[in-house]
Amino acid sequence: MSETRSDSHYYVPPPSHYPVTINLGLFVLALGFVLRINAIASGVVPILAGMAVVFYGAFGWLGKIICEDESGNYHPWEDRSFRIGMVYFILSEIAFFASFLLALMYVRVFVLPELASMDPRYTLWPDFRGTWPSGGPKSQAFTPLNAWGIPAANAILILASAVSMMWARKGLSTANRGQMVAGLAMALALGVAFLFQQAMEYRHAAELGITLATGVYGTNFYMLTGMHGAHLLAGIIMLAVLLLRAFHGHFKAESSVGLELVAWYWNFVVVIPGLLIFIYFYWL
C-alpha cells in the first residue's frame, strides 16, 4: 500500500506488449492446429511454438497484474471492475457449457422420441430402441456407464473441493492464514484427484467399448467430460498460483480479489458443470 486509496483516480495501465504477443501465439497455434489435423505432421512445430508464446504472454500479463496488485495500484474502484468482468466471463462460459449440455438434451428429448414415434412398420435399423442411451445405427455394441462408480465418487470430490474453497475464504476473512492455505491446498488436491479418477473412468469406458465410434453416446461422453476436464485443468493451474501467492504472504481480508475470482471460477465453471454432467449424463 504505497499509495493512498482514492476513489477519484482510476488506474489505467501503461502500454503493454503482452496482449498482442498472446495473439501472435494464438495465431501460430491455430495455424499449426489446422495443418496438423489435415495430416501435415510438421504442424506440430507451430503448435508447440504457439503454445510457448501464449504461455509466455499469459504469465507475463498475469504476473504484471499481480505486481500491480501488490504494489497498491488497485483500489476498491478497480477491484469492482475485475469482479464485474469475472461475472460476465463466467456467464459466457456458462453459455458455452450450456451449448454442449443442450446438444445432449436435444438428442435425448427431441431426436430419440421423434424417431421412436415413427410408424413401427418401418425398421429404422436392427435393434432400434427409442431410448437413451443410444449410439445410432452404425454404433458398435457398448455397455452404458454406471453412475454409481467413479462418477459418483467424482461428484463427491468436486463438491468437497467447493466446500474447501469456501473454508479457505472463511480463513481469509477471519485472518486465519493457516486455514486459508490448508483450504486452498485441499481444493487443489481434490481437483487433481478428480482429474486422475476421470482418466481411470476413460480407461474403464474403453473397456466397456465406449469410444468415439459408439455414435452420439461416446461423442457426448468424451466431449462433455473433456471440455469439463480442460476447464478443471485451468482451474488447477489457478489454484496452484494462488497457493504460491499465499505462501508469499499475498491476500489480505481487504485485498483478495485474485483469490475470490478463482473461487467463483471454480464454483461456476468447474463444480456446477461437473455436477450437471453427473446428473444428466451419468445418472438420469
Binding site: 489505467v12 495501465p13 491455430a30 489435415n38 464485474i84 456467464l91 452404425k138 468415439l212 461423442t219
Partner: protein, 532 residues
C-alpha cells in the same frame, strides 16, 4: 519485487511509445477506437471487392469468370468479412472511442483486455484469407464455401482445409467479441461519472450495454457449434451425423441460436446512435428515451427465442413453426416503438439536412423496408416460397446495409469532426449519400423481384428469365462499390486539409463528448466530470 514495483510506478508517467509500437501496445481507448474503425473500414473494402467479383459473374447468365467452387468461396468470405470484420469492429470502434467520453470515464475499464480484443482481429482475418490465397499456389481447395452460417452443405461435401481455417478464425473472433463485450459491460456499470445514472445515459451507451449482454450469451454458442463441427470433421465425434445417432438439424439450431441475436448485435448499436443524430439536426431533445430503452431490452429478450424462423423449411413440427412465427412477429412491436420514436424525434423539429442527418434519414427509410420485408418472412405459409431465394438476400441487405452500414456512415460523418478536429467536405458528403442511396436500391430492389420469381441464392448461374434483374443489380453493385471510394477521398481530405472543427461541431449537438475540444486530448476525464 521491489524492482518491479518501481517499474510499474515509473511506467505510469511515461509518454506512449512512438511509431508502430504505440499502436501495438496501446491501452488508450481513443487509439483502440481508431484502430477498430480503421480495421473495419479496410475489411469493408476487401469484402466489397470480393462481392464485386460475384456480381461480375452474375452480370450475364452462364459461367464466365468463376467456377462454382470459387463463387461459393467468394460469397462466404464476403459474408464473414463484412459481418465479423467490417460491421462489428466498426461498431466496437465507435463504442471504444465514444462510451468513455459519453459517460465521463477516464478510459475503458479493462484497457489491456481492450488491446487484446482488437489485436486478435487482424490475425483472425488472416486465418480467413490464407486458404483463399493458398489455392492459387496449388495448396488446398481454397477458403470455406459453406456460407457465413456454415451449414450450406453437409459435413464432407465442401470440406477442405478452408473450413478448418474458418473454424479457428471464428474461435478467435469469438474471443475478441466476448472480451470486448465484457469490457463494455464493466465500463458502463463501473465507470460512469458521479451523477450519470443509468437512466441518464445516452442511448448509444444503453444500446451497447444491451448488445454486450447479447454477445456474451450468444457468441459462446457459435464457438461451441464451431468446436463440434471441428471435432466432427477431424476427431471422429458424431454431433451432426445421423448415421451415428446425431442430427444435422442440431447444427442449424446451435448456429441460429447465435445467428439471430447476431442480427441485433449488428443493429442495436446503430439503433442507439440514430436518436443522437436525429435529435441534433432536429434541434430537439431525444424523443421517447424511456420507451426506447425498454424497447431495446424487449428486442434483446425476444432475439433469443425466435431463432428457428431461419429453419422453417427444415421439417420442424407444426407447433414449433407456429410458435416461431408468432414470436418472430412479436419483435415488430418493440421495433415499431423505435421507429415511431425516431419519427417523433424529427416531428416538427427545425430540421437541417447535413450529411449525417441524410444518412440517418436514409437509415430510417431503408431499415424500415428491411423490417417490413422481415415481417412477412416468418409467415410459415409463404416462407416456403421465400426460403433460400434472393428475397432473403434482398431483405438481409436492407437490414445490414440499409440499416447497419447507413447508420454507421451516419455515425462516421457525425463524429468524424470530433475524432479528427476537422470538418469534412459537406458537398462531397451529400454526393456520397445520394450515390449510395441510388446504387444501393438499384442493387437490391431487382433482387427482391428475382427472388419472388424463384431465383435461388448461393448459385453461380441462373435461368434466363432472371437476366434483366441480375444485369440491373450487378450494375447497381458496381456503382455502389465505386461510390464508396468517394468516402475514402472525403475522409482523407478531411484529415489532411479540412477546416478546423469547434468542440461543439454541430449546432444542436448534445452530450458530454461535445463539451470537449475536437479532437479530444489523449487522456480525458481523468478526474470525473460532474453530471447534473
Amino acid at each position: 519485487m521491489t524492482q518491479a514495483i518501481t517499474a510499474v510506478a515509473h511506467d505510469q508517467h511515461e509518454h506512449p511509445p512512438a511509431g508502430i509500437m504505440r499502436w501495438l501496445t496501446t491501452t488508450n481507448h481513443k487509439d483502440l477506437g481508431i484502430l477498430y474503425m480503421s480495421f473495419g473500414a479496410i475489411m469493408f473494402f476487401i469484402g466489397g471487392v470480393l462481392i464485386m467479383a460475384v456480381r461480375a459473374e452474375l452480370l450475364f447468365p452462364g459461367l464466365q469468370l468463376l467456377s462454382p467452387g470459387m463463387y461459393n468461396q467468394l460469397f462466404t468470405l464476403h459474408a464473414l468479412i463484412m459481418v465479423f470484420g467490417a460491421i462489428m469492429p466498426f461498431a466496437t470502434g465507435l463504442n471504444n472511442y465514444l462510451i468513455p467520453l459519453m459517460i465521463g470515464a477516464p478510459d475503458m475499464a479493462l484497457p489491456r483486455v481492450n488491446n487484446w480484443g482488437f489485436w486478435i482481429l487482424p490475425f483472425a482475418a488472416l486465418l480467413l484469407l490464407i486458404p483463399f490465397f493458398l489455392q492459387f499456389s496449388g495448396i488446398g481447395s481454397g477458403a470455406s464455401g459453406l456460407g457465413w452460417v456454415m451449414h450450406n452443405t453437409s459435413l464432407d461435401l465442401q470440406g477442405g482445409i478452408g473450413v478448418d481455417f474458418a473454424i479457428f478464425a471464428i474461435h478467435l473472433l469469438g474471443l475478441s467479441s466476448i472480451s470486448g463485450a465484457i469490457n463494455v459491460v464493466v465500463t458502463v456499470l463501473n465507470m460512469r461519472a458521479p451523477g450519470m445514472a443509468l437512466m441518464k445515459m445516452p442511448l448509444f451507451v444503453w444500446a451497447w450495454l444491451i448488445t454486450a449482454f447479447m454477445l456474451i450469451l450468444a457468441m459462446p454458442v457459435f464457438s461451441a457449434a464451431a468446436t463440434m463441427l471441428l471435432t466432427d470433421r477431424h476427431f471422429g465425434t458424431h454431433f451432426f451425423d445421423a448415421a451415428n445417432g446425431g442430427d444435422p438439424i442440431l447444427l442449424q439450431h446451435l448456429i441460429w441460436f447465435f445467428g439471430h441475436p447476431e442480427v441485433y448485435i449488428v443493429l442495436l448499436p446503430v439503433w442507439g446512435l440514430i436518436p443522437h443524430i436525429l435529435a441534433t439536426f432536429s434541434r430537439k431533445p431525444v424523443y421517447g428515451y424511456r420507451a426506447q430503452v425498454y424497447a431495446l431490452w424487449a428486442i434483446c429478450f425476444l432475439s433469443f427465442i425466435v431463432w428457428s424462423h431461419h429453419m422453417l423449411t427444415s421439417g420442424l413440427p407444426l407447433a414449433a413453426e407456429v410458435y416461431f412465427m408468432y414470436s418472430t412477429m412479436a419483435i415488430s412491436i418493440p421495433t415499431s416503438v423505435l421507429v415511431f420514436c425516431w419519427l417523433g424525434a424529427i416531428w416538427r423539429g427545425a430540421m437541417t439536412f447535413e450529411t449525417p442527418m441524410l444518412f440517418a434519414l436514409g437509415f430510417v427509410a431503408h431499415f424500415g423496408m428491411g423490417a417490413l420485408t422481415g415481417l412477412i418472412l416468418p409467415d410459415v405459409a409463404v416462407n416456403a416460397q421465400y426460403h433460400n431465394s434472393y428475397v432473403i438476400v434482398s431483405h438481409f441487405h436492407y437490414t445490414f446495409f440499409g440499416g447497419g452500414i447507413f447508420g454507421m456512415l451516419a455515425a462516421l460523418y457525425y463524429w468524424l469532426p470530433k475524432f479528427t478536429g476537422r470538418m469534412f467536405d459537406e458537398k462531397l458528403g451529400r454526393l456520397h449519400f445520394w450515390l449510395t442511396v441510388i446504387s444501393f436500391n438499384m442493387t437490391f430492389i431487382p433482387q427482391w423481384f428475382a427472388g419472388l420469381d424463384g431465383m435461388p441464392r448461393h448459385i453461380a448461374d441462373y435461368a434466363l428469365r432472371f437476366s434483366t434483374m441480375n444485369f440491373i443489380s450487378s450494375v447497381g453493385a458496381f456503382l455502389l462499390g465505386l461510390s464508396q471510394l468517394l468516402l475514402v477521398y472525403i475522409v482523407f481530405k478531411c484529415v489532411r486539409s479540412g477546416p478546423k472543427a469547434t468542440g461543439q461541431v454541430w449546432e444542436g449537438a448534445q452530450g458530454l463528448e461535445f463539451t470537449l475540444p475536437s479532437p479530444p486530448p489523449y487522456h480525458t476525464f481523468e478526474t470525473p466530470p460532474a453530471v447534473k
